[in-house]
Symmetry: C2
Subunit: 270 residues, 2 copies
């Protein structure tokens, strides 16, 4: 796992990220709108799951969406064309070495990226440099340690912990969501406001049972089965029991909870 | 602990419950209003922490607030008089054996009570019997398993687990919040809607750092120190390290998260 992006790049994974975006769009992005003529850097756009929502909601803003993976960018570009978006420019770039002048954007948007980084404050600081004073940065991350469910089950927690451990081995932090406030403050942003956005799923919300508990979260855990067993983190039997226990939470009397965090801060004057 | 209410009845505990009510009132109760002339049973009012808020927000509704403890009721009555409330009648009663006719209330409100009960569905079913068809029940509970924080700390989780274990030994369930939906459905209520209400605390919210993380949650954990150590659930050193770790989350770079659940359901027609 050391040399690969934990979430992988193959087709099934793309489908999962797309389902996730569909189910969570309103909750995570409903309050993000950029004004006419503003320039926004989306740092780490991946396959464009967030790009489409962002660009469609702020049709008069101009987006520059960058990612380090050429394959992801190709998929993001394809989706953007399919959606008929005209206000997004895709560009290959490493967010730790951005090819932009200082203060060249009004806003930065970074979603599900910090979890993969060993030095998130350093990355946020670098992103801050390309924002004009008074501009904003928006940061969104999940936190796998926020997961709880009914019926509770130790094997399910053990399976989830595998993803946390794999993320840590790859240099990231799957518990980064809870740290957004200190990270943003530590990177020098002002007026930092973070709020927690829990996905609460019971059988009264069949769209979330399907779109979040099954197709997003449980699929994500299932996706690391071979890596977790191969790394000796868990026995196959326990892992599989954990996945079954997560599936069990999608029955009529089950409940599943997961929390994302969204922070907004301002670039201070120099 | 087997014969005592886990939260105790002494003065310090009353102060804690009062601080908790102050900090959380708007989030938990802001959307609970009862119409003019409606009759509301508050089942398990304790020292009246919720009663004052409820009755003040719905001044034209009539509340009957019951509790099994005469001491708690005396304190609730004292507070109610101090606040000048005229729409609350206090009465000693056991919620498992209510002294009311069937369908004699428009609504029932029950907050921080199910966590103490071995048979919560049975209690909810009994409460349903005193509601008229078409009336509502509102259920609010916390869930100690929803707790996470930064910096993360194993001793803090172990100290929290002591409260969960003590609650279980006393026949209750400190993880009941996540189960509100299945419990309400299981008790026969219709149109059940549950939502999660997370208290997210970072140093940008000094009122919550003080009122929730310190004076409510950490104080509650500290309150079971002797019981937990006496029961052999934990070593004193680990418990104290856990409390210090919880206090650590109140520093400028710390974060603390806890989730309450609020459910509303309808009494079906017979």
């Amino acid at each position: 796992m050391d040399d690969a992006y934990v979430h992988g790049y193959h087709a099934r994974e793309n489908a999962r990220l797309h389902d996730q975006a569909d189910a969570l769009v309103e909750m995570l992005h409903g309050d993000t709108r950029y004004g006419a003529g503003s320039s926004v850097l989306e740092a780490g756009c991946g396959v464009g799951a967030q790009t489409l929502t962002l660009a469609a909601r702020s049709p008069e803003a101009h987006f520059t969406s960058v990612d380090i993976s050429a394959d992801s960018l190709a998929e993001a570009r394809r989706r953007s064309e399919l959606a008929g978006l005209t206000n997004v420019e895709f560009r290959r770039a490493d967010i730790s070495d951005l090819p932009f002048e200082p203060e060249s954007f009004d806003h930065v948007f970074v979603c599900f990226v910090l979890e993969h980084l060993a030095e998130p404050i350093q990355a946020l600081t670098a992103l801050g440099e390309v924002i004009r004073p008074g501009g904003t940065i928006t940061v969104i991350e999940g936190d796998h340690g926020s997961t709880f469910f009914h019926p509770d089950n130790a094997a399910a927690h053990a399976a989830i912990q595998c993803l946390v451990d794999l993320q840590a081995r790859a240099g990231g932090d799957a518990l980064v969501g809870r740290r957004i406030f200190p990270l943003m403050v530590g990177a020098g942003f002002g007026e930092v406001r973070v709020d927690a956005r829990m996905v609460y799923v019971d059988s009264g919300h069949p769209d979330l049972v399907e779109g979040f508990t099954k197709k997003t979260f449980t699929a994500m855990i299932e996706g690391v089965r071979e890596a977790a067993i191969g790394a000796g983190l868990i026995d196959a039997e326990i892992f599989d029991a954990g996945v079954r226990a997560l599936q069990r939470t999608t029955e009529p009397d089950g409940v599943f909870c997961y929390t994302f965090f969204k922070g907004v801060g301002e670039k201070r004057n120099a």
